[in-house]
């Protein structure tokens, strides 16, 4: 920034502010509330407290308790009443306090939210966003560190997205709220405090498409597929690999359902190797689907099978060993090595 631009009245903001991912979500929700009077936020402790992660901080104060609603403590109730509010014309954004507490609402999500549009032959739209902070690495007790995204991505009628940076957090939450599709929005809770640049004036119409993957780092030797909290891990691995002379491409999937496979295929056809990284247990995780599709589509381009670096097929373990459960830089590099050694 030049001296003069700093002094003068900025005509066109360049890249805007550097804020945490959590704050970016907060700004995005604020914009959504401003942009459409039908948008409401509901959940446990979202009001005065601003949510346990402060993602809704200040919103009830500014928009009133009719638009930012502290609900009774019952997740089925949160999502079930959101369905009714959506039928009434509202656009509810539901906050689930932690990943492990979404299951009381699972029935309403898979049997109602996902199906009402289909059931009603397109007559009833449910523009509902269900926000879920997910993933581990924060030293928490049971139920506070899970990655249940596959349990939603498997369900037709839902769309599932997740963000990995402040910029995406800000735009994607706005896009999700503006979409008429029911969307489960996973927030990488251990990245809430990581900072990044956000253009707060960005126009929704110009945004990168919500359901498109993004090449987070270009590379030539192998493709690392990640999303949410693991994008940072994958990028770190790519930096480390570069030191060993290996040039990894990192793709941030962003949309988990639908998957933007074109971006993935394009990369893997070039690199011939793919490694998928996620925190969720490997068995029937996103890595399985990605591996299956990549293999079918890029069969003759693959130099090695698609490898998976994931959580183990055990309940999320005690905090003191979670670092051994979670994929990290070393495990990603190990998988890349194995791919090259195939």
């Amino acid at each position: 920034m030049t001296e003069s631009s700093r002094g003068g009245k900025p005509q066109s903001k360049t890249m805007g502010e550097t804020i945490t991912l959590g704050k970016a979500l907060n700004h995005g929700l604020r914009r959504a509330l401003e942009d459409d009077p039908k948008v409401i936020i509901m959940g446990e402790d979202v009001g005065k407290l601003g949510g346990v992660f402060r993602i809704t901080d200040g919103l009830q104060k500014d928009f009133g308790d009719d638009r930012v609603i502290d609900t009774p403590l019952a997740e089925s109730g949160i999502v079930g009443t959101a369905v009714g509010l959506a039928i009434r014309g509202y656009r509810p954004v539901c906050e689930i306090q932690f990943d492990g507490f979404v299951f009381p609402a699972y029935n309403q999500i898979v049997a109602q939210v996902a199906k009402m549009f289909y059931r009603s032959l397109g007559n009833v739209r449910l523009p509902i966003v269900i926000r879920i902070p997910f993933g581990g690495g924060i030293g928490a007790v049971e139920h506070h560190s899970e990655s249940p995204e596959a349990l939603f991505a498997h369900v037709p009628g839902l769309k599932v997205v997740t963000c990995s940076s402040s910029a995406d957090a800000y735009m994607m939450i706005r896009q999700a709220v503006a979409s008429d599709d029911p969307i489960v929005f996973f927030e990488p809770k251990r990245r809430y405090w990581e900072k990044g640049e956000v253009d707060l004036d960005a126009d929704l119409g110009q945004a990168f498409p919500l359901h498109q993957a993004r090449v987070a780092r270009e590379g030539t030797d192998a493709t690392v597929l990640a999303y949410g909290p693991m994008v940072r891990t994958a990028l770190d691995a790519a930096i480390a690999a570069a030191e060993d002379g290996r040039n990894l491409e990192v793709i941030d999937l962003r949309s988990l359902s639908p998957l933007d496979m074109e971006t993935v295929y394009r990369s893997v056809r070039r690199t011939g190797r793919a490694v998928v990284v996620h925190e969720a247990p490997g068995n029937l995780g996103l890595g399985a689907e990605l591996a299956a599709r990549i293999t079918e589509e890029c069969f003759y381009s693959l130099e090695a099978p698609v490898l998976r670096v994931t959580g183990y097929d055990i309940p999320y373990p005690a905090a003191r060993v979670e670092e051994d459960f979670l994929p990290d830089l070393d495990r990603v590099l190990d998988a890349v090595d194995r791919s090259f050694g195939w």
């Binding site: 409401i40 109730g77 039928i87 009434r88 549009f117 289909y118 059931r119 397109g122 007559n123 979409s179």
Partner: protein, 379 residues
Amino acid sequence: MANGEREVGADAPAGGFVQLLTPDGERVDSVTTTDGMTYSVDFTDEEYRELYRDLVTVRRLDAEATALQRQGELGIWASLLGQEAAQVGSGRALRKQDMAFPTYREHGVLYTRGIDPIMPFGLFRGVDQGGWDPHEFKFNTYTIVIGSQTLHATGYAMGITMDGKTGTPDGEAVIAYFGDGATSQGDVNEAFVWSGVFNSPIVFFCQNNQYAISEPLERQTRIPLYRRAAGYGFPGIRIDGNDVLASYAVTRAALDQARNGQGPSLIEAYTYRMGAHTSSDDPTRYRIASEVESWKAKDPIARVRAFLTKQQVADETFFAEVDDTAKKLALDLRERVLAMPDPEPVTMFDNVYPHGSPEIDAQRASFERYHATFEGSGH
């Protein structure tokens, strides 16, 4: 709300209920409950006759559906036989602006909303999952997962309050239908919590038809269901569910209270499922014939006919004409059901997402390609 002595009608269960028309067709002028609510109706002769017509019509259509199912034209049918008064009374009590959330058995309420009675047949024939526009008719899709719709109804009612559409006589209100079995589901109880906390304009209308498939009421509760409401801080009342006048009067009053800003209430319509749970069910396995017999004496239609006759509001000519008109409607319905086309298979890919999805598009395309390979091959 404790139901007091004044509410005990003929054949009332212990604890009593609100009854304005006895099984013999005697009118009870009005009923005042222990907490001071007075219920009565003030219908013109014409209105009485139209109520009768509704009852006969929905029963006749239901019988046609049962026949169609037996002939293999429907996959399944959930009959409302015996519950006509509960449904027609409460359905007619709704004002135009009120919204209803049904289960899978509310064909009578659907009829009172002015929806073409063929609508539910798509679902039961297996050609779609329900075809009407819930917004147009203010009657949501049928809901099969027990209890779910009570939360939808509660959310909708919260929206009415947020829209400022309560507190006046022409405000809006919601009615949520569910069965005795549904009262055990967490969702229904959460709906009670929510609507109490938010003082939402909603009437919970429970048709206690004594059974959840094979399970008698005692498997769901050890006290009368209407008393559930007290635990959440809003009124509960039991009505003779086979009395269309009580159903009308009490639902109308509860809806009006709701629209006036007085919050939720629960109505337990004490009735009986005269037929099987659905056409797949065999009730002889779990209930005795004499029980069914005893409920025949409380038929919801016979009592209105007796009343109309005694009061000389209607005569045999009228009754015959009603039967005849209902029959014609039923035959018309039958014809139209038989003519319902099977959907084009490829339409199963429609309406998955409002904004569509490239994955679905790809699957639709591959489906079409695949089926094209069979063209002319007899497939």
